[in-house]
Amino acid sequence: MVAELRQRAWDAAAGVTDPEIPVLTIEDLGVLRAVDVTPDGVEVRITPTYTGCPAMGVIALEVELALARAGVAPVRVITVMAPAWTTDWLSEAGRAKLRAYGIAPPPGQASRRALFATEPATCPRCASADTALLAEFGSTACKSLWQCRTCREPFDQFKCH
């Protein structure tokens, strides 16, 4: 009974998409951390991708709505900081969806970066590695703006974090 409720709550929460990148669910992103059934109701834990991510408020609201639609109540959405989110948590399915949407997924491992070294992004449209960074800070805090020198298209890259 508890397991069934937990699964129903998880499935409902897992369907919530990122308001900035609507092809990704919060499950793909690794933002959905845990769903627990407690005597006081269902607790959903989410974690921000960036500390100041303005989407967190909307995501918390969407999770509450999704669980209400699934008939799960009462619900408490808790934002947790530990452990800190990293782009390594982005699922393979999430990476493929990002590429299909025209956003280059974050490169490699979220290890320490050299001060000026930038690994060139791979163009999500033509897969060329001949690309140039246009702006370190793109349309949202989690993306930078690039241009492909092969197909000439500009594109966003999800920053390594």
């Binding site: 500390t51 303005p54 370190e136 800070f137």
Partner: protein
């Protein structure tokens, strides 16, 4: 211990909020669209860090929430670095300030990510990745300005000379009890790393490191420049004018 802990959190949160607010003042005035977005994103990172630290402090003893801590304390209760409250000045001053601070705070967050306090360590681990971008962005701009035209070089050097007396405050001792308990690193231990970063970037930027001299102090004790009060008056006006307003 909890008073000491929350006082330390407030110092770091006030730093992030004050610099974040200063950077947000560029919105609508930046020299290019890309830089407009960059400065707004940097501000967003810093304000996010401040919110996380205020919320942690509120949960550990200050008894107030993040909004009360940000909007209902006066300038004498703020304990941020003087460096961060100075007006933005021209773009060179804004970039030089961001660089001098980022070169310090990036290794500081790295040290703090090994804190014995797991909540603080998690905030620091995330903030460190953000400050690494801030450091890179500001260093690239400082090199571009210093090694650019005569005018940009002159302004970048003037900015460094003006800000230099405010850099000593970053290395003032943290609470010895917290340092001894491995809850936070000792800022003085980061001076060498800071010197290396600053010297290598200034060399590439063809800028001269200002001579060491008198260092300003007082922010950590709530003694501020005249500028903080003016900044807070703007920042806090809505919250104070409409108490308990919801939006």
């Amino acid at each position: 211990m909890s008073d000491r802990f929350s006082a330390m959190l407030l110092r770091r949160a006030d730093d992030a909020l004050v610099l974040g607010h200063r950077l947000s003042e560029w919105t609508g005035h930046a020299p290019s669209l890309e830089e407009e977005l960059a400065l707004a994103n940097l501000a967003l990172d810093l304000i996010g860090q401040a919110r996380a630290l205020y919320t942690l402090a509120a949960g550990r003893g200050t008894g107030e929430d993040e909004d009360a801590l940000a909007y209902l304390r006066g300038d004498r209760e703020y304990t941020n670095l003087l460096l961060l409250e100075l007006p933005n000045g021209d773009f060179a001053v804004t970039i030089a300030r961001l660089f001098l601070y980022a070169a310090f705070i990036d290794p500081f967050w790295r040290g703090l990510s090994a804190s014995r306090d797991p909540d603080l360590a998690a905030i620091a681990a995330k903030a460190e990745k953000e400050s690494a971008y801030h450091l890179r962005h500001s260093a690239e701009w400082l090199i571009r300005l210093g090694d650019g035209t005569d005018e940009s070089h002159r302004r970048a050097q003037a900015a460094l000379d003006r800000l230099w007396p405010y850099t000593g405050e970053m290395f003032e001792p943290e609470d010895e009890v917290l340092v001894a308990a491995d809850i936070c690193p000792e800022p003085a231990g980061l001076r060498e790393a800071w010197n290396r970063t600053v010297d290598s970037v200034l060399a590439e930027a063809t800028l001269a490191r200002p001579a060491e001299g008198w260092m300003q102090s007082g922010g950590r004790a709530g003694r501020h420049t005249e500028h903080l009060g003016h900044m807070l008056a703007v920042m806090q006006s809505v919250a104070r004018g409409f108490p308990a307003a919801k939006w």
